[in-house]
Symmetry: C2
């Protein structure tokens, strides 16, 4: 059946009783594709029926679907002209994992962070109303996204629209791990009462509300959506689905089935990773800590086993990154050591809390920013902006380790220290085993790895390994470069930087992050009025969507031979 | 009576029937003080009874009060040893307008941004529980703060505490302007039903709930708080107060009475301000725009008259800065021009929405960031971090005008352009009247104001006036400096910067913002490998709390003679 469907128009030609067969076909396609290439499994399997019913009843793109996170949009892509990317193995890589306007007129926003759909969709609705147009605006969000402040702000505001506005709440009873937060007790009550309970958070803020228990019954969904289409006021449609529906592994292992790696993905379980290293070190001290995470424990390296062992020293706060930082500040003020584990991509959601709630109060929370660094792929999940974001906030001291021993030393230091909020940046990089140069009694000092002359390489974190290779190549050019491991990137070691002036003419900074607003620019500013030349190497201010890492490094001039060439040119 | 009260202990010695007289005294003190020096009037007058009752019933600092925004904490300060700052005119400047831990053990957090109290307090509660201590943790927030995502995330999480946790919701029926959002229809219903309505958002997420209608009756409050003290689970206490209670102006003019200027504050209503200029220009085009503001219209220059005139082309979204940015992205995608007006201090709350919801989608929203710049005073409201925050995000083009004509040209351009999200930075500065150098057909080009040699001053926005003075003084040293007005600060004009190499040896950047991560550092990076010297002048990465502007500029070396000295030293 899928063969004949190249657009939503083709879907509408089917009889309603044919839809279950189509759903079955799509489910087979998705299971095959996702297990082959990797991808979001559970949410996409849960949403097949809802998506087919939406496209059957509504008229995309005149009617506008806005997907939250959009990691559940695979069926939407299949139905809107992009099925080959899911059926034909040769084209498996041809579309992104998220809605992407450049792929299709049926996609309105590039989205990969959560809790944004209602807000974005409400903007479309505002314009529709102001232009006296008519169309259905449909925001599609999961129950996990509901905990995020941006979603709650948006629901509170969009209910005031005096016009058509439809929020589909796909309640599959799971965030990535279990949901957490008081709202979920209300969702449970609503499920248990078939939506009839008087206590209803959506009605409390003014939404019209319907409940659909059979969220994986495409015929029932079509009937329900037909009743809702062209409604003249905001309504929230609470649809109960089963995460992973149709796949035994994904339904029995909802957390593990949220995202699966492809069949060619191999990982050596005995191999060190920086995540394992910091988790192990934190667990050694778990009685002294409260670990905080915003519903991404697996990505943070916190397995179920670790979480259970941590007990009430582990807190999942739901998808509430801003809350997590404020909570950490409160815990630190209360006299305990909070450790907030957050990816470089999601720490972006917390700037004001870092600045005001935490840094201004100088409370000694420890924040571990993992998955940091420059890498290719989808621009919704990048790790290169955390340095400009955090290191320009007063009081927060930022560190990046170049090796296992250094990371362990930093974690030990961070757990004990009581004088400032601290960030340990953990890059997505393979583990190195240099000795630690970190000196607890002078935590902000940079360190010589080796002393040379003419050229000094100041290489942060994992880029020390890159600098070591550059130094090797430079030897062939009769240059004995000095090598420096700064560890701390939120301040300048002026003493060392001044020393370099004696017998160096060029300083090269290397950082695994965006150079604009970053670490290297501070060094360039420091040397600005001196004869010392400086070059800053790292990421550029550009989304570079879907660029593979290899091409990206080439574009940035970050390969060792490119770096050497640049150095030689500037001597 | 106030004479005898130097701490909460003294307050507790009073009989309950003596409290109304004390309240009356405090009210007189506050009215006199606030109208003299300026300050938050309405919220403090509303909260006298609640604060007296809290300190009478609970045992601060063992019991911990965490004030949201803390602009309503004046009575708390009076009762905790800081009354002289409100009674003695000679000491009127001796305490800050917000809770400040360095002032008193009764203050737990420095706070000035909204919607944070429940989150911060929940951290204190977590630690209390983990340490098996007992105390009451009391978060005190206004109804306005309730719309903020951070507050909603925190309520959703803190209700899971299996222990004492008290949220006092001071409902005076006003944010700064009228409240907006669906939540407020529920608050209204609860007020009208004396808290009895079944539809109750707080109960929906699991809070125990009590309603106190007589929020300005100190005796009733004491009785109610006694029943709540030492409660063993989270409870939300909905207290109905009257904003501005006891002052005719403040009760009749709730928005104007939110914050009043001191009696010595003089303003010439005929004088230009940058706010008037952008508001006038926007209103000329109001049919083409949707202006968005997050409940700070007066601060944004949007008087009641302007808002009424704008009609449905003006949207107040409540205190929801993140939502405002996502909404703007949606509106721009929908084909209308959104103009979000936000202070430099509060734009901090929106980094991820700027990066993901807006910039990544490259939707042409216009954001006006006002009250930007370096100034002294309370560190909770500063204007110097917006450049590092925003200008290092891809796609967003950032501009800063040096004069009235330039600001008008930028606004005209921003209203029309369809290619990128755009920020116009509006500094807290007196208006200049240079001709506009902005060139719509080359919007990212820097501009020569005058061509000289040896030294080039690249001065952003209002600091062009500073550079003009510096250039004058340099003449006396036989230096004919080049003067450059960049206007655009999110990218480099490499052509012009290369030209400067011909006959200049030193480039000096001046920006009215933090230099770390800012504009000047990009220039220093550009010249890093060339013989050109560069100096970056601007703000430093430091909170500098309560430092007067004059001292701050001196500390930063931003006075013209200091700048000249630095230039001469570096030639």
């Amino acid at each position: 059946m899928l063969e004949k469907i190249n657009s939503p128009k083709d879907l509408k030609k089917l009889k309603i009783e044919e839809l279950p067969a189509l759903v079955k076909e799509i489910r087979e396609v998705l299971i095959n594709k996702i297990y082959t290439t990797g991808g979001h499994l559970g949410s996409n399997l849960a949403m097949i029926e809802v998506t087919v019913a939406l496209h059957y009843v509504f008229d995309s793109p005149k009617d506008k679907f806005v997907f939250d996170v959009s990691h559940q949009s695979y069926t939407h892509k299949i139905l809107t002209g992009r099925k080959d990317a899911f059926i034909d193995p040769a084209k498996f890589g041809s579309v992104s994992g998220y809605t992407t306007p450049s792929e299709s007129e049926h996609d309105f926003f590039k989205v990969g962070h959560t809790s944004t759909a209602v807000a974005l969709a409400s903007g479309l609705a505002k314009v529709r109303d102001l232009k006296h147009q008519s169309s259905n605006i449909v925001a599609i969000m999961g129950d996990g996204a509901l905990s995020g402040g941006e979603a709650l702000e948006a629901l509170d505001n969009s209910v005031l629209l005096n016009s058509n506005f439809i929020v589909i709440l796909n309640d599959n009873e799971m965030s990535i791990p279990e949901n957490t937060g008081g709202i979920y007790s209300n969702l449970k009550l609503l499920r248990e009462t078939n939506g009839e309970a008087d206590i209803n958070i959506f009605k409390a803020i003014g939404f019209d509300y319907v409940y659909i228990d059979e969220g994986n019954d495409v015929v029932k969904l079509v009937e329900a959506f037909k009743r809702i289409k062209d409604i003249d006021h905001p309504i929230l449609v609470h649809v109960h689905t089963l995460k992973g529906y149709g796949d035994e592994f994904a339904t029995l292992n909802k957390e593990a089935g949220h995202y699966v790696m492809g069949k060619n993905y191999k990982v050596d379980p005995t191999k060190d990773t920086y995540k394992k290293i910091f988790v192990n070190k934190l667990m050694e001290h778990i009685d002294e800590l409260i670990m905080i995470n915003a519903s991404t424990p697996t990505a943070a390296g916190l397995s179920k086993e670790v979480r259970e062992k941590a007990g009430n020293h582990y807190l999942d706060v739901g998808i509430c990154e801003p809350y997590a930082v404020a909570l950490a500040s409160g815990i630190a003020k209360g006299g305990f050591k909070p450790v907030y584990l957050v990816s470089a991509s999601f720490v972006q959601r917390t700037y004001d809390q870092l600045n005001q709630d935490l840094a201004m109060n100088n409370n000694p929370a420890l924040i571990i920013v993992y998955d940091a660094g420059i890498y290719g792929g989808d621009c919704t999940h990048v790790g290169q902006y955390d340095i400009p974001l955090i290191s320009n906030i007063p009081n927060i001291k930022c560190f990046d380790a170049s090796s296992k021993a250094e990371l362990e030393a930093l974690i030990e230091f961070g757990i004990k220290e009581k004088d400032f909020p601290m960030v340990i940046r953990v890059e997505m990089a393979s583990v190195s085993y240099h000795n630690s140069l970190f000196d607890e009694s002078h935590p902000f000092k940079y360190h010589y790895v080796s002393k040379g002359s003419r050229v000094a390489l100041i290489a942060l974190g994992s880029y020390l390994d890159k600098a070591i290779k550059v130094k090797e190549i430079l030897k062939a050019h009769n240059i004995d470069a000095t090598l420096i491991n700064p560890i701390c990137y939120s301040s300048l070691d002026e003493e060392l930087l001044n020393e370099l002036k004696e017998n160096h003419e060029l300083v090269v900074t290397l950082e695994n992050g965006c150079i604009e607003g970053g670490f290297g620019e501070k060094i360039s500013r420091f040397y600005g009025a001196s004869p010392m030349k400086a070059i800053n190497l790292g990421g550029e201010k550009d989304f570079n969507d879907l660029l593979p890492s290899k091409e990206l490094f080439e574009k940035l001039g970050l390969n060792e031979d490119q770096i050497v060439k640049k150095i030689i040119e500037n001597l």
